[in-house]
């Protein structure tokens, strides 16, 4: 998920790359499921929205996660970045919050939209664009925004939340989904329900065009001005020819800069319907008392059919592809192989491979590339990039030590892949994967926010939060033969895309245009 890319400081390159792809860990013991079943209440409202409440009354706080089953993979053609842009809009208030006079503001916003349409129509004319007229239209557009701005109480939505003790208030948009979350003192549950249901049901395209500038700055920070950001964008774009997983999730500059408020509101209308939303609350909440109140608020979310599934299926790759970025940053190597989605029966087999290759100092890639050959600072293989709702990639990443090259990383990774294909993993390795998966699930249960995220995600992905626990059965069933079979099926050269940064000398002549001196 692009949302999780952080500025890279060397030691964390791998952690970050893996984090942006990480799946929630699955698995646990049946008796834990039983204890959770006693504490969890699930309710599907008449509008299709699912509420999950998990009682964990250790401290007088709660955390929530609102999970929208739509992300940038759903952006219409030519509108990449739309889901993320809408997510920003969801913090701008409602017809009640953030406005001094919504009736008048609504009219002013319609004028903003008309002015933008007129400006864009002229701007996009391939032939016969009138620059004077364009300047006039631009001025009219800016004036219309200023007029609408008169009714705005800036950031009032977040202000109410933060004054009421919201902690960790944020949202993330990935290719697969959109998540909104924060934590609060338990006595603000009803206030939260009002705020959250209002912004889901009653979003207003307020200050949209300013916020678009902010999002473009976000792109500059995460992608344009960040070597890993650039590498990831090119890697995904090369690996996919048809599916939207190949598209920049924050949006191609020409597209995200021309998304308009009408498009964002259409996205909202289609995807922010009850059947597409799960809200999970974990903490000091009594389901019996809270449910009627929550039902009242969240019934405001419009009912609507679950949006149709995407029809595009990435065609089978038959040609190996490579991207080489030559620039003055240090080398990195990444390669990926198309794999099926999370619904594939072999999903846990990929998790096992990832664990055995990458988890800790006992992992094969660490021991081979880092400890024994001493050619890499970090190396790992992992699933879930750029997403996993649809067929994604199983990717490998290696960060060379000084003096070593991406080519050496590639060769060393391929040797490890060959081992997986030609010999079984050991009993110890397989047992370790199962033990760690179980323990990691248990560890995750201690955190309200993490648990809320997981419950909402599993409810959406599997139609039942219990799958978070039940997956352990599937984990236990993974065999050595499964691993070898899947490795042979997937890790083949015709299914491979690789991307690397080759370091270019900073010498004067090689400098790119615009880099004088």
């Amino acid at each position: 998920m692009q949302s999780r890319i952080l500025p890279w400081s060397t030691r964390w390159i791998l952690v970050l790359f893996v984090a942006l792809a990480a799946l929630s860990i699955a698995g646990a013991k049946a008796q834990d499921l039983k204890s959770f079943e006693q504490r969890i209440t699930t309710k599907v409202l008449p509008n299709g929205l699912t509420l999950i409440i998990c009682e964990r009354p250790d401290a007088p706080v709660f955390s929530y996660s609102t999970f929208i089953d739509a992300g940038d993979v759903n952006d219409p053609s030519g509108e990449s970045g739309l889901a993320h842009m809408f997510e920003h809009l969801a913090f701008k208030g409602t017809s009640e919050i953030g406005t001094t006079d919504y009736a008048a503001e609504k009219i002013a916003l319609a004028k903003v939209e008309a002015a933008n349409d007129a400006y864009e129509a002229e701007y996009l004319k391939a032939v016969g664009r009138d620059e004077n007229k364009l300047a006039e239209l631009k001025k009219a557009f800016i004036d219309a925004q200023a007029e609408a701005h008169k009714f705005v109480i800036p950031n009032q939505f977040t202000d109410i939340a933060e004054r009421s003790g919201a902690e960790g208030l944020n949202a993330e948009t990935g290719l697969d989904d959109t998540r909104y979350f924060w934590s609060m003192p338990e006595n603000r549950l009803e206030l939260w329900a009002y705020l959250e249901s209002s912004r889901l049901a009653d979003t207003v395209p307020r200050e949209f065009y300013k916020e678009r500038d902010v999002v473009i700055e976000e792109r500059r920070m995460r992608t344009d001005s960040n070597p890993i950001g650039r590498l990831i964008e090119q890697f995904a774009a090369t690996a996919y020819v048809a599916h939207n997983y190949g598209r920049s999730s924050i949006g191609w500059p020409s597209e995200v800069s021309q998304i308009n408020a009408t498009e964002a509101m259409e996205f909202h209308k289609k995807y922010y319907v009850g059947a597409n939303v799960v809200v999970a609350v974990v903490g000091d909440v009594k389901a019996a008392e809270a449910l009627p109140m929550l039902e009242k608020y969240f019934s405001k979310v419009p009912a609507g059919p679950k949006p149709e599934e995407m029809t595009t299926v990435e065609p089978k790759q038959f040609a190996e592809k490579t991207v080489t970025i030559r620039e003055q940053t240090q080398p990195i190597y990444v390669e990926g192989y198309h794999r099926p989605s999370y619904r594939d029966p072999n999903d846990n087999v990929y998790d096992a491979i990832s664990d055995i290759l990458s988890n800790g100092r006992v992992s094969r890639l660490y021991r081979s590339l880092v400890r024994d050959q001493q050619i890499a600072a970090e190396a790992a293989g992992f699933s879930g990039f750029p997403g996993d709702k649809y067929p994604g990639l199983f990717a490998f990443l290696a960060v060379p030590l000084p003096g070593h090259t991406p080519a050496e990383m590639r060769d060393a990774i391929h040797k490890e892949i060959d081992k997986l294909k030609t010999a079984d993993v050991t009993d110890d390795e397989l047992a370790m994967y199962k033990t760690r998966t179980r323990a990691d699930l248990l560890r995750g249960l201690a955190d309200n926010q993490g648990l809320a995220n997981d419950l909402a995600e599993y409810q959406t992905r599997y139609g039942d939060w219990r799958e978070l626990f039940l997956q352990l059965d599937k984990v236990d069933k993974v065999t050595k033969a499964d691993i070898r079979r899947v490795a042979n099926e997937v890790f083949v050269s015709s299914n491979r895309t690789s991307a690397e940064i080759d370091t270019e000398a900073p010498a004067g002549n090689s400098k790119q245009a615009g880099g004088a001196q």
Partner: protein, 491 residues
């Protein structure tokens, strides 16, 4: 992507990270029908955070026990005074290497690789680390493995056997970090702005170089260990155990160690930056990372509560003056924020940062400087004060809403010599902050003429140029990475 986090991805001291306030247009909100104000806010459920049991051993070692039976895990840590600020400057990076090689080397009984195999099979961990003022050893495991993992951790604590091979591995990792340290714009900005504040050779900012990490030997690691292990250790254990039995076990283990030696008192000088505009050219970016920096304070300063409220108003979060102006009103930045930092035992930094496209570098910098200036020229309002206090106080319980957080806070206070009730007195002081206090701290601590402005960005794209800021000649900062064997040309 995170749409709203001001700080989560940027490079500021976490101390400054979570603050806010709002300037609502005067009078307008009064006309609003505010349905949210009619929602009842019941009394918060009674909550008394469970404090860990503190045990001071005869030799001065302090133990904390925090029982928590929700999940079948036990974890613990030993905090050891002394960190990178105490290392020999000619061997800068030693503590970082020590933190890695300590664990990967292992003990005479069990080397690091064997330890990895044993622990990972149990989904258990023992890890070591080195920081600015301390090093640490931490462990965690399922309850059933707790005794064995504790024994292993203890063996590593008291009987490490540093290996040349593992030191070499750590040196390679560190070298990778050094040669890559100029790849990311944010990393450069964070590092170099701190150097402007503290000075390039300060114990808080001097950086490991290929030569200084290359100078570190196995003997140095052992010497560091021998020197620090006799300090005032703080041992903390939390999770699913019986406190009586655990106390007996820890006493048996740690009470036999020699009387702890006090840490030497530091006498650091903190001059603050030489004011002016500093520039670092980076050709592969289209966004400038602007850091406006000066010297901050430490938490012993009684003005810290008022400063915290001021920070909230200046640059905490969504409703702060910086966010409202630079992001919401001007649309010039995704990431903007900052404030006057306070560390536990030395002055932190004042740091305001703005990330903006190359062409608006001057506009965004001016806008941020104007808000800093406004701390003393634009009077604080009651609305701002109330909002800032609400923001801080209503979320205050998230500092102690889990037993692990309570334990971590107590260990921190013990380490830095603060009273155990520090959070309570701090909260009480926050509640009492007045408009007069805000005005006082702003006048006392906000001095725009003492700040340095660092811009990391794409020189040719920055138009208008930085000279338009009219803050004197632009000083270029050389961030060339010294190669061993060649003359070190800077500082």
């Amino acid at each position: 992507m995170k749409s709203l986090s001001v700080k989560r991805f940027t490079t500021i001291s976490p101390i400054l990270a979570v603050f806010l306030v709002l300037l609502a247009p005067g009078g307008l909100s009064a006309q609003q029908n505010k349905p949210w104000d009619k929602i009842p806010v019941p009394k918060l459920h009674d909550f008394k955070p469970q404090q860990p049991k503190r045990i001071e051993l005869k030799n001065g070692i302090v133990v904390f026990l925090q029982e928590d039976h929700e999940l079948p895990f036990v974890s613990g840590s030993v905090l050891i005074p002394g960190g990178s600020r105490d290392e020999d400057p000619a061997k800068t990076g030693l503590v970082g290497l020590y933190g890695q090689a300590w664990r990967t080397s292992g003990t005479a009984k069990l080397d690091g690789d064997a330890l990895d195999d044993l622990l990972e099979a149990k989904a258990a961990h023992i890890e070591t680390g080195g920081g600015e003022d301390s090093t640490s050893l931490a462990w965690d495991s399922l309850k059933g493995d707790a005794d064995q993992v504790f024994s292993l951790a203890l063996d590593l604590l008291l009987h490490p056997k540093f290996s040349a091979e593992k030191l070499g591995l750590a040196q390679q990792q560190e070298a990778t970090g050094i040669v890559r340290r100029n790849d990311d714009e944010g990393e450069i900005a964070e590092r170099e702005s701190a150097k402007l504040v503290y000075g390039p050779n300060s114990p808080y900012t001097r950086q490991p170089e290929l030569a200084t990490i290359g100078a570190v030997t196995v003997g140095d690691l052992q010497a560091w260990h021998d020197r620090t292990i006799g300090g005032k250790l703080i041992v903390s254990v939390s999770g699913d155990f019986d406190a009586v039995a655990m106390e007996a076990k820890l006493r048996a283990t740690f009470e036999g160690l020699p009387q702890v030696k006090p840490s030497p008192v530091r006498h650091d000088l903190f001059a603050g930056p030489t004011p002016g505009v500093y520039f670092i050219d980076k050709e592969d970016v289209n966004q400038s990372n602007v850091q406006i920096v000066g010297l901050g304070t430490d938490r012993h300063n009684p003005d810290v509560p008022a400063l915290a409220v001021m920070n909230e108003i200046l640059g905490g979060g969504f409703a702060s003056r910086l966010f409202q102006k630079v992001r919401t009103e001007l649309g010039l930045a995704y990431s903007v924020g900052g404030g006057y930092g306070a560390a536990y035992d030395h002055p932190a930094t004042f740091d305001v940062d703005v990330l903006t496209k190359s062409a608006t570098t001057v506009d965004a910098t001016r806008a941020a400087l104007a808000e800093i200036d406004g701390m003393t020229s634009k009077p604080f309002t009651q609305v701002e004060l109330d909002r800032a206090k609400d923001n801080i106080l209503n979320s205050f319980l998230f500092r102690y809403d889990t037993r692990d957080k309570v334990l971590a806070e107590r260990v921190r206070l013990e380490f830095y010599g603060y009273p155990a009730d520090y959070l309570e007195t701090y909260k009480a002081a926050l509640e009492k902050v007045t408009l007069a206090d805000l005005g006082m701290v702003a006048r006392k601590y906000i001095h725009p003429d003492k700040l340095a402005v660092l811009v990391v960005g794409n020189g040719p794209e920055i138009k208008p140029g930085l000279d338009e800021l009219k803050l004197g000649a632009i000083k270029t900062v050389d961030i060339t990475i010294p190669q061993p064997g060649k003359q070190d040309k800077t500082q």
